[in-house]
């Protein structure tokens, strides 16, 4: 078995980067949906929350493979490919959760600010500031989904030892080789990461 610390660190790096990347485009989209009341777009993202990870893996595989439209980027079987896939995976989750938080916040705090004589920009700034804990909570949720994901990591990561192997693909490998003890050890680490971030999400959400 590859060194547990290394795999864990790589898994953390990949899912954290994916979550941040997804937030960079997801939160502005959520803001647009909330402020312009783009309900149809919101519904589309909410419908995509449960999309099977293996489908995103397949789609990305077709895009990144040698003959695919993005084949020349040579991203297949790299950590970047997994990051991209997981970012796509958690985008609907981030957009879905944050647009609700932002909408409620704009309704409540936007009006409060306006009634106290704030300009439109100041009112929006207050609404954004007040929604930060909730948005952070949706990011923690996204992380906890990304960290345990298998389909994408396997298909576009390739489970290469010391390079793209993550906790979830290691577990799959150990089980296939009958090394149940190692698989359970890896599983325990994965569970604590995923639970840890779910709890963080809860705590942040409760404060929002």
């Amino acid at each position: 078995m590859e060194d547990l610390v290394g795999v864990t660190a790589r898994t953390l790096y990949i899912s954290t980067t994916a979550t941040i990347l997804a937030s960079l485009w997801g939160i502005p989209i959520a803001y647009l949906i909330a402020s312009r009341r783009l309900q149809t777009l919101a519904t589309v993202f909410e419908a995509l929350v449960g999309i099977p990870t293996v489908l995103i893996g397949l789609l990305l595989y077709l895009l990144l493979s040698k003959q695919g439209p993005l084949g020349s980027l040579n991203l297949l079987y790299t950590p970047t490919a997994i990051i991209l896939g997981e970012a796509v995976l958690v985008t609907p989750l981030i957009v879905g959760a944050s647009h609700r938080i932002l909408k409620a916040s704009i309704d409540t705090y936007g009006e409060l600010a306006a009634s106290l004589g704030a300009s439109r920009i100041q009112a929006m700034a207050l609404a954004l500031a007040e929604s930060l804990p909730g948005i952070a909570s949706s990011m923690a949720m996204a992380f906890s989904r990304a960290v345990g994901e298998l389909g994408i990591a396997l298909l576009v990561g390739g489970n290469l030892k010391g390079y793209t192997r993550t906790l979830s693909t290691s577990i799959a490998l150990e089980v296939s080789m009958g090394e149940y003890g190692d698989a359970i050890r890896l599983g325990a680490v994965l569970l604590s990461l995923s639970l840890g971030f779910s709890i963080v999400a809860r705590l942040l959400g409760g404060r929002g």
Partner: protein, 225 residues
């Protein structure tokens, strides 16, 4: 003077009119009570007077000028003469003091400039022991007092209070009523939306009844039960 003139309002095009040909005047140094059943349009009328929502038809005049024909920055300037206090007190994260200073912060003003107003509302509304409390943990009555105080810190010339007595106990009602009478004496124009509360009626110089979005003006003598 703030005047809503023949205002028609609805929130969505498919909705029935929420305000119909409604007029209301708020003069300096006067208290007008806006009375009516739930859903009659009291909150909508106060928000129209505050310049927070634009009516479909009609005019909203601040010292004679229609705020909805002004550009945005002039409208903001005019609107700052009035502060609307919602029936649902909303607190931002932080302490009671953070909330009291919120309006100043949003307007880009120095808290020092409002020292006297701040001291006065803290004293007048009995908030002294609460300043360091977490604003999100206040009782409904405490939050209502803080949200009214937060408006008064801005020294508005017009005050639009939406059901301000609803969560208050008797002692707090007394405090608020006394402070409002004092402010009236100093020339502040005050509108109070409410149900048929004696407190509001006692304070009012005039009473406007609203039903299904239509406003009827009446003098207090004729309606006091």
């Amino acid at each position: 003077m703030i005047e809503a003139r023949k205002v028609w309002l609805r929130y969505t095009p498919s909705q029935e009119w929420v305000l119909r040909d409604a007029s209301l005047t708020l003069a300096p140094g006067r208290i007008v009570a806006l009375m009516g059943p739930n859903g009659s349009g009291k909150t909508s009328m106060l928000k129209v007077l505050a310049g927070l929502i634009k009516p479909g038809r009609g005019e909203v005049l601040y010292e004679g000028s229609d705020i909805w024909s002004m550009d945005e920055s002039r409208r903001l300037q005019a609107r700052r003469a009035a502060v609307y206090v919602s029936e649902k007190p909303v607190m931002v994260r932080g302490t009671v003091m953070d909330n009291l200073l919120l309006g100043l912060r949003l307007r880009g003003a120095e808290p020092r400039q409002a020292r006297d107003a701040l001291d006065r509302v803290v004293e007048g509304l009995g908030l002294k022991g609460m300043l360091d409390m977490d604003a999100r943990r206040l009782s409904a009555g405490q939050a209502q007092m803080v949200s009214i105080a937060r408006a008064l810190v801005l020294k508005p010339r017009y005050l639009l209070l939406d059901e301000p007595f609803s969560h208050l106990d008797r002692a707090r009602r007394r405090l608020l009523a006394e402070l409002l009478e004092e402010l009236r004496g100093e020339g502040v124009g005050i509108a109070i939306a409410g149900h048929e509360e004696l407190y509001t009626l006692e304070l009012a110089d005039s009473v406007a009844w609203i039903e299904s979005g239509r406003v009827a003006m009446q003098e207090p003598g004729s309606v006091l039960i």
